[in-house]
């Protein structure tokens, strides 16, 4: 990962996490919280491919794991977003840069993030995981994230294009 990429990813992730936890979570929308951080990870993984997508995903998850009001269970979102960043980068490596592709990627990633976190938390013995709520959380998560895709992904993609116009995955 080149230095401009690191800087851009750090800036976007910090802004996204603050926006999500301080502005979107207190809205008390039904179901899950609109996941701007996930959208940033997906957008960057689409532009930069699997390796950088994985690194950005890990950093994003770790930020969510440690940013207030987190209170334990660090590493879970890091593991989930790491795999999502990698998978999105890998699956859509050869896809065109179109809105439809972005929407499809966000839908998959959004549903997978909720399910993946619930599975991982249950695996390490967290009794707070409420499986009956998972389908509703997945549905609402996909709806919110798809709505926000139209705003977030073009902006992030545009910024990413500005710092290196011709992405080379094997840099």
């Amino acid at each position: 990962m080149s230095l401009p990429r690191v800087g851009l990813a750090a800036l976007l992730l910090l802004c996204a996490s603050v926006l999500e936890l301080a502005a979107l979570a207190p809205l008390g929308l039904p179901g899950s919280t609109p996941d701007v951080v996930l959208l940033v990870v997906v957008a960057l993984a689409l532009r930069w491919g699997p390796l950088d997508g994985a690194v950005v995903g890990f950093a994003a998850g770790l930020l969510l794991d440690l940013a207030p009001p987190s209170d334990g269970g660090a590493g879970r979102w890091a593991a989930v977003f790491l795999l999502l960043g990698y998978a999105v980068g890998r699956l859509f490596e050869d896809a065109d840069d179109t809105p439809v592709v972005a929407l499809f990627a966000v839908t998959l990633a959004s549903a997978a993030s909720v399910l993946g976190y619930a599975a991982l938390a249950a695996l390490v013995g967290d009794e707070g995981v409420d499986w009956p709520r998972v389908p509703g959380l997945m549905t609402s998560s996909v709806i919110y994230d798809v709505v926000l895709t139209a705003v977030v992904v073009p902006v992030v993609g545009g910024l990413a294009r500005r710092i290196d116009p011709e992405p080379d995955f094997r840099r």
């Binding site: 910090l14 996490s17 603050v18 926006l19 999500e20 936890l21 301080a22 502005a23 979570a25 207190p26 809205l27 008390g28 179901g31 899950s32 919280t33 996941d35 699997p50 390796l51 994985a54 690194v55 890990f58 998850g61 770790l62 969510l64 794991d65 440690l66 940013a67 207030p68 009001p69 987190s70 209170d71 334990g72 269970g73 660090a74 590493g75 879970r76 979102w77 890091a78 593991a79 790491l82 795999l83 990698y86 890998r90 993030s113 909720v114 976190y117 619930a118 991982l120 938390a121 390490v124 967290d126 009794e127 707070g128 995981v129 409420d130 709520r133 959380l137 998560s141 094997r170």
Partner: protein, 312 residues
């Protein structure tokens, strides 16, 4: 995985191992640990930012609320709501107060209204719903006197307990969090049990062992802990909703509607660990000892003389 370079595979595996190591290190129930310091440092940096953003978007959130209540006299409504909450809480804890009063009388003690120092705070961030936790950030921290394991209340009753503090922010475990457990007392009978959180938007779960049947609508208050940490006594937790009791057992399970509206948390107060309240000494059984004399005796400071119970 066929087309991946060795470097991609190496980075992926290394990061995954790092994440899973953290998962093993940072257990939710134990708290503290090596990650605690990192988390506190992150909170020092991000907490003020969250507070700023939260303050900035609050008018917008307020606007959404205003649109719902178009043309309402906001100020008057909020004043009346506050008054209403106060009266409701007074009414709900009345039974408990009366019972305590009776017990104090029986001990010839003078009841004291407990007053704790506290610090007002605002909720600046909430946890994400898809994490199955319900925690909140407050804009007060160790520099305001907030410590871990202190009680958080608002105008309606119990909000939760402080689970982590940074310099200017703190993290509250809300009563609805699956990790939250609190001992409670039935206001009218004094029987104790415990409530547990069941997740966001769900009522609390009450378990109580008592021969007396439990009526829906009964108010529950906190029992409190030694040294007032994590919870102080006699804070309204909520009211009993559905009671389920297996026949032939003493175990009553019930759902409890929390007194606090967790969907609209804003202004709260953190109870500061303060002085232990002054307890009156139990007067000796001398003829003509009037309650007023006992009241005069009950001066400042905890009494050291062991009292004897006044005979009938």
């Amino acid at each position: 995985m066929g087309r991946d370079t060795r470097r991609t595979r190496l980075v992926l595996v290394l990061l995954l191992l790092t994440a899973l190591t953290l998962v093993m290190l940072d257990d939710r129930t134990s708290g503290g640990g090596p990650i605690g310091h990192v988390r506190s440092a992150v909170a020092d940096v991000l907490g003020p930012v969250q507070a700023g953003v939260s303050a900035a978007v609050r008018p917008v959130t307020g606007l959404v609320d205003d649109l719902r209540e178009l043309g309402a006299k906001d100020e008057q409504i909020s004043r009346l709501e506050a008054e209403n909450r106060q009266l409701r809480q007074d009414a709900a804890t009345r039974e408990n107060d009366l019972r305590r009063l009776a017990e104090y009388d029986a001990l010839a003690r003078q009841p004291t209204v407990r007053r704790f120092p506290d610090v007002a705070a605002r909720v600046t961030a909430l946890s994400r719903a898809q994490g199955f936790t319900t925690t909140a950030s407050l804009d007060v921290g160790s520099q305001d006197g907030v410590r871990d394991d202190t009680t958080v209340i608002n105008g309606d009753g119990l909000v939760g307990r402080v689970k982590g503090t940074a310099r200017s922010t703190s993290t509250v475990l809300l009563a609805t969090d699956p990790d939250f457990v609190a001992r409670v007392r039935v206001g009218s009978t004094g029987a104790t049990g415990f409530v547990e959180g069941q997740g966001e938007g769900k009522p609390l779960a009450l378990t109580i062992y008592d021969t007396e049947p439990l009526e829906p609508g009964t108010a529950l208050v906190t029992v409190g802990s030694v040294g007032d940490g994590p919870l102080v006594a006699d804070v309204l937790v909520g009211r009993v909703a559905d009671v389920r009791r297996a026949p032939g057992t003493l175990t009553t399970r019930a759902t409890v509607t929390p007194a606090v509206d967790f969907a609209h948390l804003d202004t709260v107060a953190v109870v500061l660990p303060g002085e232990r309240e002054a307890r009156g000494s139990v007067p000796a059984a001398t003829p003509g000892a009037s309650p007023a004399a006992g009241r005069r005796q009950a001066g400042a400071g905890p009494a050291r003389t062991p009292g004897t119970r006044a005979a009938g």
